[in-house]
Every structure is written in C-alpha cells, then in structure tokens.
C-alpha cells in the first residue's frame, strides 16, 4: 500500500502531506525534512527511486519521486506496489492538477490546499490506488466543487438573514 504522499518544494517547504498511517505532527515534520534532505542531495537525471531511507520508515519502504519545476512529488510505499506504476501514478496526479488549474504552478498548489486533498483522495483511498484515469478524477472533483459552491451559497443566505426570517 501507499504509506504517504508528499509535495515538497525545492527549498524544503512542504506543500502537501498525507500519511496513510497515523503519525504525530512532529514526526510528520521530521519525515518531511528527512525526505527533503535525501532528495535535495540527488542530482538530476538519475533514477527516481530511493531505497535506503534509514530506520525512520519500515525496512521495506521505498520512495519514488518526480521533480517538476520547483516541486518534488513524493510517494512512499511498501513492496506490494510496483515502482514504475507509482511513477505513473505521480504522472496521473500531476496531470490532473494540470487540468484542474490549467497549467499548474507552485502557487496553485499553495493556495488550493483543500482542493489538492480532494484530488488526491479521488486517486488514493486508504493507501489503495482507486482511480488512475485523470478524466474520471476531474469529473468527480468538478462535481464536488459544484456541490461545495452551491451549499456555501446557501449558507451565505442563511447567515445574512436572521433565523426567524428564514423560517
């Protein structure tokens, strides 16, 4: 299963992190720092796998990352996933982001924190890959944002009108 998904920028700032086994906040930060330290030491044009992650993760945890512009997209997983498939999955994730935000850049990722989670949740649930078609993901995400805007509009009305009036 997938153990964690992280998006870290090239300066080491986390942009998104999701751990599929509970980790306390300090531990999460430590893991992110550790991963960044490993990645930032790797030159470009080398393989996208990191095998020796030290003892922080389990012994058979592997890491796949991809470097896009100013961001590292990182997937951590155990040996019931295929490395190349995970690489493809990063591609799917990034493609979907690209479609959602129309040529995605780091700022989009920064300011659309919850949408990032929505997209990721459509692709991965509980460490299991559920959807690998970015069109399908897009459809679901659009439905959700429609749902969001409609309900939040409703609350806006509710908020401005006193409760006795609404009745």
């Amino acid at each position: 299963m997938i153990k964690a998904v992280m998006v870290i920028n090239t300066l080491g700032k986390p942009r998104l992190s999701k751990f599929y086994e509970f980790q306390p906040a300090e531990k999460q930060q430590e893991l992110i720092r550790h991963v960044y330290a490993v990645l930032s030491n790797r030159p470009d044009n080398v393989s996208n796998f990191v095998r020796s992650l030290g003892t922080i993760f389990g012994p058979d945890t592997r890491l796949v990352y991809k470097h896009y512009a100013t961001l590292y997209f990182v997937f951590l997983f155990d040996n019931s996933e295929n490395e190349l498939a995970m690489l493809d999955l990063i591609q799917v994730f990034v493609e979907t982001l690209d479609k959602c935000f129309r040529s995605v850049c780091e700022l989009d990722v920064v300011f659309n924190y919850s949408k990032m989670h929505t997209i990721l949740d459509e692709i991965v649930l509980g460490g299991q890959v559920l959807e690998t078609d970015s069109v399908e993901v897009m459809r679901a995400v659009e439905e959700i944002s429609k749902l969001e805007s409609s309900t939040s509009a409703g609350t806006l009305i509710k908020k401005s009108i006193p409760s006795w009036w609404a009745r």
């Binding site: 986390p14 393989s47 040996n79 295929n82 190349l84 919850s114 509980g126 299991q128 969001e148």
Partner: protein, 963 residues
C-alpha cells in the same frame, strides 16, 4: 456571545489570507503562526458555522504544513461534521482525518452516529467523505459499529462508492477481525464484477491481505488465475502477480499453470511497469522454468540498455534477484555491470556492486577485489565504504569460504586500512583477530601486516584506524614468535604517538608490549646456546609442574582482560602438550632464524628495559584501571629483570645459582602461558557451560548489605589512599615530563627514520601496494620450499585435520585450515512470531472460506456476546434491506453450490489416489454439525456448500478446476 462572534466573522481572515500573510511575513514564522493560532482559538468557539469552518480549515492547514498541534480542536471538528453544508462537512472530515489519532483521541466515538448517517446518505460524495474519514480515524469500536453500513455499500450500485467501500474494508478487517465473517463473501463476489475498477480494488485488498498471511487465500487462486488470463488492465495484472508471488511457494503446482500466461503478458505488453512485474515474478518465484527465465533475462537486457536510469536500476535489481540461481544471467551482462560501478547514479552503483560481489568465487576473488579496491580509491567516501563493507562481508561469508590464499587476504585487509576514507575499522579489526585465531598458516603474514600498520606513526592520527591498530597490536603480541624483529614491534607499541589512542586500545597495546617483552627476554635466554636447558625446562613442565602451569594459564586469563578468552574448558594436560608443541616450534624457529637476526646483547636488553620504563612509568598512575593494571604488570617484570641484570646473559652459562634460575624460570613460564593457543569461541558457548551444583543464580543478594555494612566504614581510608595516589602521580608526571621529552626527541626520530627507510612513504599509495605485495612470497610457496618449521606446521595441521574432520577435502591447491566451531557460527534467529491480529483475520477468513461459522470458539462467542448479537441483528437488517435482491442472490447461491459440487466430485475422484484421513474426518465433522445446527433451510444449504469448500480448501491442493 453574539457580539464577538459577529465581529469575528466579519473580520475573519480566510485561509487564503493566512497563507498570503505567511508568505509576506519576514522574520520568525513561529511567532506569526502562534498569533494565528490564538486567533483561531477564539474564532473556533463561534456559534456561526462559517466562522468555525474557516477557523478549522486554517488550523488544519497549519497542522498539516507547519506541524501545529491541533489535538485540542478535535471536538470542534466533530461538531462541524454534523453540518448540513457539504463544504463544512468536508472541512470537518478533512480535519478529522489529518489530525485524529485513533489510539488517543477519545472523542472519536462521538462521531459514530454521524458517520453512520453519512455512510447511508444518498449523496455519493458525502459517503465518500465518510469513508475517507473512517479509514483514518477508525478504532476497533468504530469498525465494529460501522461494519454493517460498509457491508451494505459493498453492493452499492454506484461504482465509485462501491470501490471506495472495498478499499476501506481492509482497515475494518485489521481492526475488527469479525468483520471478515460479515463481509468476506460479498468481497469475493465483487471479484466477478464487470467493472475493472472494482475488481482492481478487490484485488488490491487481497494483495494486502495475502502479504500478511498468504495461506488462507489459496482457495481463491482460480479467481485470480482467471483475471491473470483474461484481463488487460495493467494495474490489475500487477496486483494479481503480486498475489501469486505470495501464493506460489505454498502450492508448487501453481507454477506450471502460471508461467505461460505470465510469459504471454511479458511478450505482449508495452507497459514497462507490467513487464517489470512479470520479470520480477518470474525471477523470484518461478526461477526453475528455464525458458521463462531466459525470456525474463532478455527483457532485463532491454531494460539495461535503455536510456532511462529507472529502467537500468530496476534491471540491475532484477539481476540481483536472479543471481543466486542463474549466475549466467549476470555473467552475460558482466561488462554492463562493471561499467555501472562508475555510474552517476548512486542507486545504480550500489546495485552494480551487489552484482559484482554475486559473481565472486574462489577463482576470481583476487581479481575482483583488485578491481573493486581501485574503484574504492576513486569514488566518494560513502561509496568507498560501501565497497569496502561489501568486500569484507563477501570474503568472510561462511567462515572465509571463498578465500584460498589467506596471505593475500590478510595483506588486502592491511591495504584497506590505509585507504584514506576507510571507516570499516571495526569489521577489519574483527576479521584480523578472527583469522589469527582460525587460520594458523596465516599468522606469519598477519604479524607482518600488523607490524607494517603499527610502525606507521601517521596512522595513529586517524581515529577510524584505531580499531585496526588494536587488532594489529593484539596479533603482533599474540603471534610474536613469527616476528622477524620483536624489538622493533616493541618500539612501535611504545611509540609516543600512542597517546592519541583511546584508553581501551592503549590497554591492548600495553598488554601486547608485555607479551613481546616476555618473548624477547625468553628469546634472549634461549639463543645464548641454552637450547638444551630450555627444552629441559619444558620437560620439567611436562613432568612435575603441571599445577604451576595451570596456575599460569589462569593468570594469563585474568590478564587478557576478556579480549579473547582462552579455552578455559580444555583439560590441563592438553594445554601442556600443546604449549609444549608451540614451544618446540618457537625454539626451532628461533634456532633457524637466530643467524639472521642480530644477536641480543646485554646492552640492547638494557635499552629495551629503559624504553619500557620511561614509556609505561607515567601510565602506572593512570586513572584508567585497564591501563594502570597492565602497565604495572609490565613494570613489575622489568623490575624483576633489572635486579638480575648485571651479568644477566654472560654469567648464564657458568653460574647456575638459584636466583638467576628463578628469573629465567619465571620468564619461561610467562612466555609459555602466552604462547598457549587461543581458539575461536562460539557466541553461545557460555550457555553450554554446565552450572556447578549448589549454585543458585537468582538468589537474593539482600544479605550482602548486612555483610558489606562493615566494609562501608573503610571508605575514608580509601579516600586518603586516593589522595596519596594522585600526589604520587603528580610527582611522577613532573619527573616524567622531562623523561618523555628526552625520549621523544631520541626515539621518535629514530622510529621515523626507521619507518621511512623500510617502508617508503605510505602516502605514495600505489607504489607501496606493490612493495607490500612483492615483498613476501605467499604462504603456500613458503610452505612447500622451506624448512623444518613447516614440517611442524604440517604436523599441527594433520592433528587439526583429525580434530575437524568435516572440512572440505580434495582441493587442487591446499587451502589453509580454517578452524570452525561445531554448530556453525551463525547466530540463532528466533522464529518470527505472527501478529495475533493477523492470526485473527486469517482465522476468520478461513472460517468464512471453509464455512464453519458454527465452530467459532465458544470463548469468542462469550467474549463478544454483545457484538455477535448485534451482528445477528445486523444480518437481519441486511436481509431486509436487500429484500428485493433476495431472488437473484439465492440464484447465485445455487449456482455457486453447483460449481462447488462439481469441485467436490473432482476432489472425491482424487481421494482414491491418495490417503486423506484428515479430510474424511472433516467431512464427518461437517456432517455432525449439520445435524446439530438449527438453521432453517436456506442456511443449511449454504452450509453444505461451505462444507464442500472445506474439502477443497483444507486438502493441501488447489481445487481441480484450476489445475
């Protein structure tokens, strides 16, 4: 409350504002964040949902990105989750899933009702939110309470919901094994679904389950096989292959069926991920199918020649897997592997290194190590140490199995120690000492290498080499009889720069100096034409003074400080015999080499004694007890000799008066004690020492207090003693500082000059290597063409051979004897204990698959009576809810039954072929149960079907419709 809340909501900062603020803020982020958190603490209490939601969203962001604690806000998230608004609900569930800790957040239970409601919601996105949250926060209680809802969702007609429910089921099984009984069947049914996404989700779940305990899922092999044969979905196929990797070792007949479709996929697919998975499956699980392996290796070759470093890396990785069984595959790609050692990618380099070492055998170990050492010299420190570590590991495998020429290996170890980045001191130390003890023939070379290391003052400055030096010192002391020039070693051991060593190693140095000094003195006595009297001493020892000898052996033990315990358990007679042998060996050697070495004069002895005294004098007041004791031992010996020194050597022949003889006798005895053989000791030998009778190890030592009570009074005296020591020491250091300076000025220059003269500058690495290599012929040559000493060695070897009959014979080139321990040196690996939870799951799975729900242990029934009650209730609910589908379900059931009956017929046909008493018994049991059970007709039929499954599954083979 309304006032502030309204104000808050009007001027509240949104998440975007917070992020912008953070980005613009210059200076310490933490102060900004703590201010923001204070703000959030206020806002989150608001009764207005919008305000609360925004506050919670901000807090979640800060928690997830900046690691801010938000455990205090758990209740607010739960509050908000009941909101009507999808948006707020989403924010609440996201907060919950990112921050709740299932083991400590106690308010989670309050969510049960809300989650249940949302799981039943008609809006699939709401269901999805609840499922996500359930995955992250579920506790055993929550899992138990919500299992029925998830069970219902397993049949949802919306594909997206159904697959999400399937994905979540894994977590429920893990937390609440009884959920297996409820959901497993429906999960299996979903394998037949026409939607590949759903099948993929189910297979994903089984892949995880099979990783933990593959055996229970063997009966499902036919279903997986069908997917493997029919599906064209790469994700799905990868997961199925992963499952089969787990199942294959359990059922050898699977291989025959599986190899063909896997090879087909491998030939057909253009997807690299699937191709790699096929390759990995073949090389790891089906390596006995030659043609499949050839195909896989062909694919690996394609990967290696690809430009993508990922494929190169994975190709090498696959080769590593294939290497143990099909070394030809590595050999075919040898050039590529060697070239990869200098790749830019660290991953590829490491993988290549593993492969290079996989190719090592007795014949090429020398060449490969030479190549690797060259690479190590060129590469960065990290990889250099990686290489060295791998060489050390490979060469020492199975007690140096592949080493034929130990002289070469020992000099290689010496060479490694001098590589500038070398940080493998500990391992090299262990191997040097280990070889010394195990391989007699390697000892002369060991001493030579040890001498080269010791004599080099530059090495003392490198803390990574200290451990190696410790081994070198020990070896030179222990096997000093092979040394060409003991006084030189003594000088090296006492050189001034040894002050740079840590105290534990310094102690080894001093102890070694003790041994060398003893040997030197003993040698000085015996070379003065007194060989007869020496052997007479040995003869004395043989006759009369056995007790004395054993006494000395014991003191030898205590001196040794536990570095390498002598063989205590050996009978005394053995010891004396062997020491006699050793002695004669030493004597013969001495007599044969004495002509080469300059004769020892009284003057040289005086010089040596002076050197020892000036160096060790200051250490006699050391705070380190090891150093203190050992240096005092040496000084004691020096004092003893000094008393007798006038005419120590000259008068020896004419004067036989007692005093002199006593000294000589003493030296002889010490030397004999030291020349006793040390052997390797098994790590578990301590356990095998029988406990003496009447000894109670776990006796309470409380009584000691009463006895020791009197002793406590003496503390003041020990205080005064301490002071006296320190003052004494002050004096000593005062006087010795001068001595030391003198000594340094003379000795260090002489040493350095010596060292340079015979050694060349070690900084000229490459040249030096050759010198080392050519200086001495390998041991084997030495043995064939030299002197009497070797005959004795051969003798020892012969006896050794009779002692250790199980070693390899009939090798073309004689390999030195390597002493092995009886039960192997491998450490004991405790059997892995299976986690109880997994046990529960697999137990439940077996129960479901085998259908004997009735056999659930009564204890479990008792322990969660409530839960089982609820389960029954749930079942009823389910039956009601799935009322309209009842017909189709029963249809399915009967179909299934038919299939199973078919399988039963098959297995019955088989029964003739092999005896299957346990199966029969099972059948009886099932039959009995059926009689006992009070279920109505439908249940009965299901159970019968399950009974058939029992047969299929409990027999050690797979149902025949696969094979």
């Amino acid at each position: 409350m309304a006032g502030p809340s309204l104000l808050d909501s009007l001027f509240q900062r949104s998440l975007d504002d917070l992020i912008k603020g953070l980005r613009l803020y210059v200076g310490d982020e933490t102060s900004f964040i703590s201010k923001a958190v204070d703000e959030i603490r206020r806002e989150i209490k608001s009764t207005d949902q919008q305000t609360k939601a925004t506050a919670l969203q901000k807090l979640t962001y800060l928690h997830s990105i900046h690691g801010v604690d938000m455990s205090w806000a758990a209740f607010h998230a739960i509050e908000l989750s009941s909101s009507q608004s999808f948006n707020f609900k989403r924010i609440a569930y996201l907060a919950a899933s990112l921050s709740f800790d299932p083991s400590t957040t106690d308010v989670i239970l309050l969510l049960t009702h809300q989650l249940r409601k949302d799981l039943q919601s008609p809006n699939s996105h709401e269901v999805s939110l609840a499922l996500h949250a359930l995955y992250f926060i579920s506790t055993p209680d929550l899992a138990r309470d919500l299992t029925p809802e998830v069970f219902t969702l397993l049949n949802s007609n919306k594909g997206s919901t159904r697959k999400k429910a399937i994905a979540i089921i894994l977590r429920l099984f893990g937390l609440y094994p009884d959920a297996v009984r409820v959901c497993f069947k429906r999960l299996v049914e979903n394998l037949e679904n026409s939607d590949p996404a759903i099948v993929s989700a189910v297979v994903g779940v089984f892949c995880e389950l099979a990783c933990k305990e593959p055996k229970s899922y063997l009966p499902l092999a036919p279903e997986f096989y069908k997917i493997l044969a029919d599906s064209r979905n790469n994700w799905l196929l990868i997961k199925v292959l992963k499952i089969f990797v787990k199942l294959a070792p359990l059922e050898p007949r699977l291989g025959k069926r599986l190899v063909e479709p896997i090879c087909d996929h491998l030939k057909r697919t253009g997807a690299k991920s699937l191709a790699f998975e096929c390759v990995r499956t073949i090389v790891s699980s089906f390596s006995e199918y030659e043609s499949a392996v050839r195909l896989a290796v062909g694919k690996i070759k394609e990967f290696l020649n690809d430009d993508d470093p990922n494929l190169k890396y994975l190709g090498l990785q696959a080769l590593t897997v294939v290497a143990p069984k099909h070394l030809w595959a590595v050999m075919e790609n040898k050039d590529f592997v060697i070239r990869s050692l200098s790749d830019a990618d660290a991953n590829i380099k490491l993988e290549a290194l593993q492969l290079v070492l996989a190719m090592v055998s007795e014949d090429n170990v020398v060449d490969i190590c030479k190549v690797l050492i060259n690479y190590a010299l060129k590469s960065d420190p990290e990889f250099c140490n990686e290489i060295l570590g791998c060489i050390l590991l490979t060469c020492s495998r199975n007690v140096y199995e592949i080493i034929m020429d130990f002289d070469w290996y020992v000099s290689l170890l010496g060479e490694m120690s001098r590589i500038p980045h070398c940080q493998k001191g500990e391992e090299i130390e262990n191997q040097l000492v280990d070889i010394g003890m195990r391989v007699k023939d390697a000892r002369p070379e060991l001493v030579r290498v040890g001498r080269d290391l010791l004599i080099d003052p530059a090495l003392l400055g490198n803390p990574f080499v200290h451990r190696i030096l410790s081994a070198a010192a020990w070896v030179s002391g222990e096997y000093v009889r092979f040394s060409k020039n003991p006084s030189e070693i003594l000088e090296a051991l006492l050189q001034p720069r040894t002050s740079l060593l840590p105290s534990s190693i310094k102690a080894v140095y001093i102890q070694s100096a003790f041994k060398v000094l003893t040997f030197y003195l003993h040698y000085s006595i015996s070379t003065k034409g007194v060989i007869p009297s020496a052997s007479q001493g040995v003869a004395d020892l043989m006759h009369g003074s056995v007790e004395e000898n054993s006494q000395f052996v014991k003191t030898g033990h205590t001196d040794d400080g536990g570095l390498n315990p002598r063989m205590l358990h050996r009978p005394v007679r053995d010891v004396s015999v062997e020491s006699f042998e050793d002695m004669s060996v030493a004597h013969e050697w001495l007599s044969s080499t004495s002509s080469k070495v300059e004769p020892i004069t009284e003057e040289s002895i005086v010089n040596i004694l002076n050197l020892v005294e000036t160096t060790l004098g200051p250490l006699a007041g050391s705070h380190e007890v090891e150093i203190l004791e050992r240096s005092r031992n040496v000084l004691g010996l020096v004092e003893l000799i000094r008393e007798e020194l006038p005419g120590y050597l000259v008068k020896r022949e004419e004067d036989n008066d007692k005093g002199q003889r006593k000294t000589h006798e003493m030296i002889k005895l010490i030397a004999e004690a030291f020349s006793e053989e040390l052997g390797p000791v098994s790590a578990s030998s301590q356990e095998r020492v029988p406990m003496p009778e009447g000894m109670v190890l776990n006796q309470s030592l409380d009584d000691l207090d009463a006895i020791c009570g009197g002793l406590v009074l003496h503390i003041p005296t020990s205080f005064s003693l301490g002071r006296s020591i320190s003052s004494e020491k002050d004096d000593v250091t005062m006087s010795d500082r001068q001595n030391k300076e003198e000594f340094e000025s003379t000795e260090s220059t002489s040493l350095l000059a010596e060292h340079r003269k015979r050694h060349g500058l070690y900084y000229l690495q490459s040249q030096k290597k050759e010198i080392v290599y050519d200086d001495y012929p390998p041991a084997n040559d030495l043995k064939t063409g030299e002197n009497a000493d070797d005959e004795a060695d051969d003798l020892i070897k012969l006896t050794e051979q009779s002692l250790f009959p199980k070693k390899k014979a009939n090798q073309a080139k004689p390999r030195p004897v390597v002493v092995k321990l009886d039960e192997g040196d491998g450490s004991f690996i405790p059997a892995k204990k299976v986690e109880s939870k997994d046990d529960l799951i697999s137990g439940a799975v077996r129960d479901v698959l085998l259908g004997d729900e009735a056999t659930t242990s009564s204890s479990r029934m008792k322990s969660d009576k409530s839960s089982s009650k609820r389960r029954q209730k749930d079942k009823l609910n389910i039956d009601k809810s799935s009322g309209p589908k009842e017909d189709s379900k029963s249809m399915e059931n009967s179909e299934q039954e038919n299939a199973l009956r078919r399988s039963r017929r098959h297995s019955r046909g088989k029964e003739k072929k092999h005896i299957s008493t346990p199966k029969d018994r099972d059948e009886h049991e099932v039959g009995d149960k059926q009689k006992v059970s009070h279920h109505h007709g439908k249940h009965k039929s299901r159970q019968r079907a399950d009974g058939a499954l029992t047969l299929a599954a409990q027999s050690p083979v797979i149902p025949d419709f696969l094979l």
